[in-house]
């Protein structure tokens, strides 16, 4: 009897998997699934020369592929995560990603006030995956079974809406092995995130403890011979203005703090880049910005 029941369950289950995947609308265009991308970043331990840190603005706005064109031979990774908050754990992990024997060991802060605010870090993908990452075997298994995972992705409201009312996807993103997520939105909506940022900074301000923590690591890394660079991540002019006025820090303030702590500030013109939602760079703007960033990094760390 038990066998018959298990057979019924297996038939219902696999039929459901088949039917759901038959009906499910095409997934967004991605080279790497999101979860696989986060996990992939944790497999960079001791493999990078340059780590670029930051939240979703860095994740979408900095292309290590482009930077490598200016710094050939160096392994560069974009260790940005959506909703990242700079924490002790994150900084410690960044250091672990660097090759111990590299002569160009560099940590770069792609600074946005959002990553320094007083906020719970519960929903950060970094936190979630840093716990899983302790098990390298499980991570490798997940990475190599990524194609399988697709068939068991959860059904979302978007899937249901798209089934009944097929529409071109609003948001397209391509995850690349360097850690960069190239993204765009159709149609673009430059005011999309402005309201939420305005509200956020009414309630929350940059936590000076987080800024101090960043500077503490800067000092320690400099003592260890690690280059520490920082730059203000470009964003839309409305959000730049909101952050300068209400977040509790300004670009100049962070520049001074970083330089006092022993780091190097990259003076890049961050204006005029195309943002698709008011906050994040569109993929072509990210390419253009990354060229500029690459040239500045090259000068700062003195690589020929």
């Amino acid at each position: 009897m038990l066998r018959k029941k298990l057979l019924v369950i297996a038939i219902v289950f696999w039929s459901s998997v088949f039917v759901i995947n038959l009906l499910r609308p095409e997934k967004e265009m991605k080279t790497i699934d999101n979860d696989i991308l986060w996990m992939h970043k944790f497999l960079w331990k001791n493999k990078l020369d340059i780590v670029i840190t930051g939240d979703s603005r860095t994740l979408m706005g900095v292309s290590p592929e482009i930077i490598t064109e200016h710094l050939p031979g160096l392994q560069i990774g974009n260790f940005g995560f959506p909703s990242l908050i700079y924490t002790d754990e994150y900084f410690a992990y960044c250091e672990e990603l660097l090759k111990p024997d590299s002569k160009s060991r560099t940590v770069i802060f792609g600074i946005s006030p959002r990553a320094l605010i007083t906020y719970e870090v519960e929903y950060c993908r970094f936190k979630e995956w840093s716990q899983t990452s302790r098990n390298i075997f499980a991570m490798k298994f997940i990475r190599h079974s990524g194609w399988l995972k697709h068939y068991f992705d959860e059904i979302t409201m978007k899937d249901i809406k798209n089934y009944f009312n097929p529409a071109p996807p609003e948001y397209l993103s391509v995850n690349l092995p360097s850690g960069w997520t190239a993204a765009r939105m159709m149609p673009e909506n430059p005011g999309y995130t402005v309201k939420s940022y305005r509200r956020r900074y009414q309630e929350l301000k940059v936590d000076q403890k987080r800024v101090n923590l960043m500077m503490k690591y800067t000092g320690e890394w400099r003592e260890k011979g690690i280059n520490v660079l920082g730059f203000w991540m470009p964003t839309g002019s409305a959000i730049y203005f909101i952050e300068e006025k209400t977040s509790g820090i300004t670009e100049d303030y962070m520049k001074n703090r970083l330089e006092k702590a022993g780091g190097t500030w990259l003076n890049i013109d961050t204006t005029g880049y195309h943002v698709y939602d008011g906050s994040h760079l569109r993929y072509d703007a990210a390419v253009s910005f990354s060229h500029s960033l690459g040239r500045n990094i090259k000068t700062a760390i003195g690589v020929k």
């Binding site: 019924v8 219902v12 998997v17 298994f141």
Partner: protein, 469 residues
């Protein structure tokens, strides 16, 4: 290791493959259970295995000493209790006591510089220490013979399915089961599979979806000034915590059944209770019976009077609240339940209501409203937040516009299923349906769809709430 993780899936497959062979040999069975349980537990932080071993060793030796040195058995019992309560005090309550001492010293102007000390909380410490204490107390009372086999004892103490979040199983219930080779019958295996699938459904589908909405609401530093909004959010939290915790218990019981062991029922549709007395026979049953047997009865039996019964109950409820967390919120939560219980016992309201038409339903509604108020304290991150939200909820003139963030039709359907399940239990439908001719087929198909739902309707993975206790 989380039940809802790929690592656990791999662990379970390997475990049951080896278990099929090793379960037939007594000593290797114990050793294998201990190793597997320590791997399961050590996945979070292997250092804390030493703590389980240390506190377990005290109880193992105390158990033997209580039996051997009967004239000094009280001393050994106190030693065992001190070991367990001591590790709880050190790891769980040190921060609470030092921070409150600091506040008190500042308020009294004593000028003492008291450092606030907080240690990392070992997962499941409240569960395994209580389980371990029941062992020595039962030996002291003469209800249990101590095991001389240390592997037998540690197999009991560390048994992985229920190690970190219960149910809290008494030694008298589990030790004899572990001692024998047990081959689960087909019926037990089916029960086990059902419990595991339903447990996952409760956790990953119901609790995880609702948890996201609840977390967003409580994370807002400026709570929305709307009473209806907060009643809805607390309803979501009530369902979330029930499904989260009952889900874990179901999975633990299911795994136990597949191993051939019977773990006691921990949740029995608590939200259909018609009184608080009934609620506590349906909610976290293993903990409430633990407190009943080891705290309430010993106090009450010293002096059997109505007043003493109330005193014993208040102490039990406050301790139960404190067991959940080192925070004033949990003490207030326990205090509220004690207050409800006392009022209920004095007024006999549920009994009186049951005599009038619709009174039983009214009783349940009153219990739920009062429960929802107590859940605010359980969920809020601070006393201030709890008071603010309670103030909003209890003022019907708070009617600001609101939108429930992240609420979707899918969550609406899931919520409907969860509530319907309890309503069916309330009207006794689940007992009636068992008489139905095609019940077995229906049940099998339901299990299959619950499995499909657990895969395709899963929410964002969250840690089980009760791990923090």
């Amino acid at each position: 290791m989380l039940f809802n993780s790929l690592a656990f899936l791999a662990f379970a497959v390997i475990f049951f493959l080896i278990w099929q062979v090793i379960k037939n040999y007594r000593q290797p069975r114990f050793v294998f259970l201990i190793i597997a349980s320590f791997i399961f537990y050590g996945w979070w932080d292997a250092r804390f295995i030493l703590l389980i071993m240390f506190s377990g060793l005290i109880d193992y030796l105390a158990g033997l000493a209580i039996e051997k040195y009967t004239s000094r058995k009280r001393f050994f019992l106190v030693l065992s209790i001190c070991g367990n309560i001591g590790s709880l005090a050190l790891f769980k309550y040190l921060g609470f006591f030092t921070s409150n001492l600091k506040v008190l010293s500042e308020a009294l102007g004593l000028g003492l510089d008291i450092p606030v000390l907080r240690l990392a909380l070992p997962i499941g410490i409240s569960f395994y220490t209580f389980q371990s204490m029941s062992y020595t107390i039962d030996i002291f009372r003469g209800n249990l013979k101590p095991t001389k086999n240390i592997f037998h004892f540690f197999a009991y103490l560390s048994l992985f399915p229920q190690l970190v979040a219960g149910p809290i199983i008494r030694a008298s219930h589990l030790l004899p089961q572990l001692n024998k080779t047990r081959n689960p019958t087909e019926k037990q295996q089916w029960e086990g599979i059902k419990l595991i699938v339903y447990g996952f459904f409760k956790k990953v589908v119901v609790a995880d979806h609702l948890g996201l909405i609840v977390d967003l609401a409580f994370r807002d530093p400026h709570p929305i000034q709307s009473a209806p909004y907060w009643w809805i959010i607390i309803t979501f939290f009530a369902i979330q915590i029930y499904c989260d915790f009952a889900g874990y218990s179901d999975i633990a019981r299911g795994i136990g059944k597949l191993m051939g062991y019977d773990f006691p029922l921990n949740f029995d549709h608590p939200y259909i209770s018609r009184s608080f007395q009934e609620f506590w026979t349906r909610w976290h049953i293993s903990l409430s019976t633990w407190f009943r047997d080891y705290v309430f009865y010993p106090i009450f039996q010293r002096k059997i009077t109505v007043a003493n019964a109330h005193i014993a109950m208040w102490i039990t409820m406050l301790l139960s609240g404190f067991w959940h967390g080192a925070h004033w919120n949990f003490l207030i939560w326990g205090g509220l339940h004690a207050f409800y219980y006392s009022v209920e016992q004095i007024t006999r309201l549920p009994k009186r209501l049951s005599k009038i038409k619709g009174g039983r339903l009214l009783s349940t509604i009153i219990v739920l409203i009062l429960l929802w108020i107590s859940w605010i304290f359980f969920r809020a991150s601070s006393l201030n937040q709890a008071m603010e939200i309670m103030g909003i909820m209890l003022n019907p003139f708070n009617t600001a516009d609101f939108e429930i963030e992240r609420f979707t039709i899918i969550i609406g359907i899931i919520l409907f299923v969860a509530i319907l399940r309890e309503i069916l239990a309330y009207i006794g439908f689940d007992k009636m349906i068992k008489q139905y001719k095609y019940y077995e087929i229906l049940e099998t198909v339901l299990v299959a769809f619950a499995l499909v739902g657990s895969v395709f309707l899963r929410g964002t993975g969250q840690v089980f709430i009760y791990f923090q206790f």
